[in-house]
């Protein structure tokens, strides 16, 4: 036992989890029963030297990429997994939502599982009777509550699991990415419940990939990278560092792919009169026709510098370079911008935006199309761009080539970021006496 003052709910000291990787499952058995403790494994550290403490009533987020050890950490705090080294002290009753499902038996109905979970948590049937109503109410999955859990959709599953977890009066609530499967209404409901629990001085520990909810909910954030504790600090500090790193990684990644050797100036004309265009690397199967190939696609700013970090209200030019091996007519060039949820935010093409003019190519050539636009005030975040070349008119065309999600850009918006798009709006207020106004049906 390590010393813990009473304001600390969870104390983790120098915690490591080493997974022993065995060649065969029997090697594990041999090793654990071997009287001389011979080694049969390779070590893999899922988590190494993690130390932090969480105060009672605090909400702490855990961030990091897949495989960084977040779930392993939560499982060890919960007690499902045994640490390989280090100590964990937990003061208070834990209710955990690990992965999807909590300890649900798929054969039982929702109600039966509620009781079962209660019994496992040490509640009597009578106590659970009292909680049943709240749980069913919160889960809000209708008559499905009387159906075997195996019939549930993953959303229903999450709803029920979450409803049980928060209604059994935990001192510490641990939530592992379970909310992301719920719909917006449920997520909203959960976050409201979080606030309620926070007010009751419940310690909450949760993993999320959604930086928005991390920022909104937590006071402190633990950032894990490949099992190592990168940072444990206030939400603001960690989120900023995390975001910065992601940007850097993005740039490094681009360089790795050799999209552009030097990103200073795109489409410049070299001394020998040749124009330089960054070559687009396409991987995987994409719709590519024999006659035309999109060889280059990038966005540059006013100064001609290629960018993948765009600011709203600034002017940019998207450049599409397509190589034609034959003469073709009735061409349309364009691209769409999608957000990370796959919603098309912007769609631009040479037909709609170019006075319904169709472009013609009379000989094999490289056609460079430039779209100059001012980036509207859209929500900040990550976006994907997909360029395409089609033949025909807007409502009747054949797509010749289309490179879905070929470029990744990050948009920065220093505004409020409350909605997908912000617009300039005039606001005028006028006050009237109540009896001077009549409301007619």
């Amino acid at each position: 036992m390590i010393f813990m003052d009473s304001s600390v709910a969870i104390k983790v000291e120098n915690l490591s989890k080493c997974y022993k990787l065995y060649e065969k499952p029997t090697d594990r058995l041999k090793e654990s029963l071997h009287p001389l403790r011979k080694k049969y494994h390779r070590d893999f550290y899922a988590l190494q030297h993690v130390s932090f403490d969480i105060k009672r009533g605090e909400t702490v987020g855990i961030i990091g990429k897949n495989g960084s050890g977040k779930s392993t950490l939560l499982k060890m705090i919960t007690g499902v997994l045994t640490p390989s080294a280090g100590e964990i002290s937990v003061d208070g009753k834990i209710s955990a939502l690990l992965e999807l499902g909590a300890g649900f038996n798929p054969e039982f109905t929702g109600v039966e599982n509620i009781y079962m979970n209660g019994t496992i948590m040490g509640f009597s049937k009578l106590e659970m009777d009292a909680k049943l109503h709240d749980i069913i109410d919160f889960a809000d999955i209708g008559d499905f509550i009387y159906q075997p859990v195996k019939m549930y959709s993953s959303g229903m599953f999450a709803r029920l699991a979450f409803a049980v977890a928060i209604n059994i009066d935990p001192d510490i609530l641990i939530v592992d990415e379970a909310l992301s499967v719920g719909d917006v209404f449920f997520q909203n409901k959960c976050f409201k419940k979080f606030q309620e629990l926070k007010a009751k001085n419940v310690t909450i520990l949760f993993v999320s990939h959604d930086m928005g909810s991390i920022k909104q909910m937590t006071q402190r954030v633990l950032w894990l990278k490949q099992g190592q504790q990168t940072m444990f600090d206030t939400t603001e500090v960690v989120c900023e560092a995390y975001f910065n790193e992601q940007l850097n990684m993005q740039n490094e990644w681009n360089q790795d792919l050799d999209v552009v050797k030097d990103k200073i100036l795109a489409d410049i004309i070299k001394n020998d009169g040749k124009m330089i265009l960054p070559k687009l690397y396409t991987t995987g199967k994409k719709l590519v026709s024999d006659d035309v190939e999109i060889k280059s696609f990038f966005i540059k700013d006013n100064a001609g510098k290629q960018v993948d970090y765009l600011k709203v209200d600034h002017e940019y030019t998207a450049v599409l370079g397509a190589q034609f091996s034959n003469a073709m007519s009735n061409l349309i060039f364009g691209f769409v911008l999608e957000n990370n949820k796959g919603i098309v935010i912007l769609g631009v093409n040479s037909f709609i935006n170019g006075n319904e003019k169709l472009i013609e190519v009379t000989r094999p050539c490289v056609m460079m199309v430039e779209f100059t636009f001012t980036l509207p005030r859209i929500l900040k975040g990550d976006y994907l761009v997909s360029p395409a070349v089609a033949q025909g008119v807007q409502d009747k065309n054949v797509i010749l080539t289309w490179l879905p999600s070929i470029a990744h850009i990050t948009i920065e918006n220093f505004g409020y970021n409350l909605s997908l798009i912000e617009i300039e709006t005039g606001v005028k207020t006028t006050e009237y006496q109540p009896d001077c106004v009549e409301f007619v049906e």
Binding site: Y19, K20, P25, T26, R28, L29, S32, L33, K75, T78, G79, V80, L81, T82, I94, A96, L98, E99, G101, A102, G103, F104, N105, E107, F108, E112, Y115, M116, N117, T119, I120, G122, S124
Partner: protein, 265 residues
């Protein structure tokens, strides 16, 4: 000491154990119209077939003064108990892996749940045993009470065995097949169907090494031979030494392997 604290632990979790047992029954017969009745029908049919084949068909000779069928079922019922317990308890943890991986739970209870389920079915058959004897005109004697002792002895052995097998099978799937074979073998090595008096005296000693022998003959001591267990002190001491060793080996194996369950399942 350890054993006492273990018993206390079980007492404390009796609520949970009971709930789990109920669910276990429910799961096994979920969706079948006759539900739990199946737990009793199957052994009953087996007995009926045996009765028909041996009593009516082969006209088997009574064993001593006892009708063959009575002699047979006193051995058959405890064997069903042993067989069912080991078969179901071996897979108990694998079957409930969701309890190992998702929640903090005393996993060692899971094999116990299976033994309790089998025990409940067995209790019913012990009742049937009394009724069968009554219907043949044999009244219960003071020796019949001994059956409580033998049930206890059986449960102790089963507990040790099932901890061992239920933990091993997680790492070694072959344990399941192996146990099925061992049980098959043990069934014929145990004088359930045949009277050990037909075996030459010099081999009897080897037969007595089989712990199931002690249980099956014990049940017959209660109902047929009317002997007390302390009248066969050697076998009793052997049985308990064997059982305690199995219990220790089972408990230690389980404890050593327990931290790895969640990693492997």
């Amino acid at each position: 000491m350890v054993f006492i604290s273990f018993l206390l632990d079980i007492m404390r979790s009796r609520n949970l154990l009971w709930e789990l047992t109920k669910k276990d029954f429910q799961i096994r017969y979920l969706g079948s119209y006759l539900g739990m009745i199946w737990a009793f029908i199957q052994p009953a049919i087996t007995i009926l077939i045996f009765w028909f084949v041996f009593q009516v068909g082969f006209k088997s000779m009574p064993v001593g003064d006892f009708p063959f069928i009575l002699w047979l079922v006193t051995g058959m019922f405890p064997w069903f108990f042993i067989n069912d317990s080991i078969n179901s308890a071996t897979g108990a943890i694998v079957e409930n892996s969701y309890l190992v991986k998702k929640v903090v739970f005393r996993v060692s209870l899971l094999p116990i749940v299976k033994i309790i389920s089998a025990f409940i079915v067995h209790l019913f058959f012990v009742g049937v045993l009394f009724i069968m004897f009554l219907s043949y005109g044999y009244l219960p004697t003071i020796y019949s009470l001994q059956v409580i002792y033998y049930i206890f002895a059986t449960i102790c052995l089963l507990l040790g065995l099932s901890w061992l097998t239920s933990a091993l099978i997680i790492f070694l799937k072959d344990v399941g097949q192996l146990m099925a074979m061992v049980l098959q073998f043990a069934f014929w090595m145990t004088p359930v169907f045949w009277n050990f008096k037909i075996i030459p005296a010099k081999y009897v000693i080897y037969l007595k090494l089989n712990p199931a022998y002690y249980i099956i003959e014990g049940y017959r001591n209660c109902f047929i031979y009317h002997r007390w267990f302390w009248q066969d002190m050697n076998v009793t001491i052997y049985y308990w030494s064997f059982t305690i060793i199995i219990l220790l080996v089972g408990a230690v194996t389980f404890k050593r392997l327990r931290p790895h369950f969640a990693d492997v399942l």
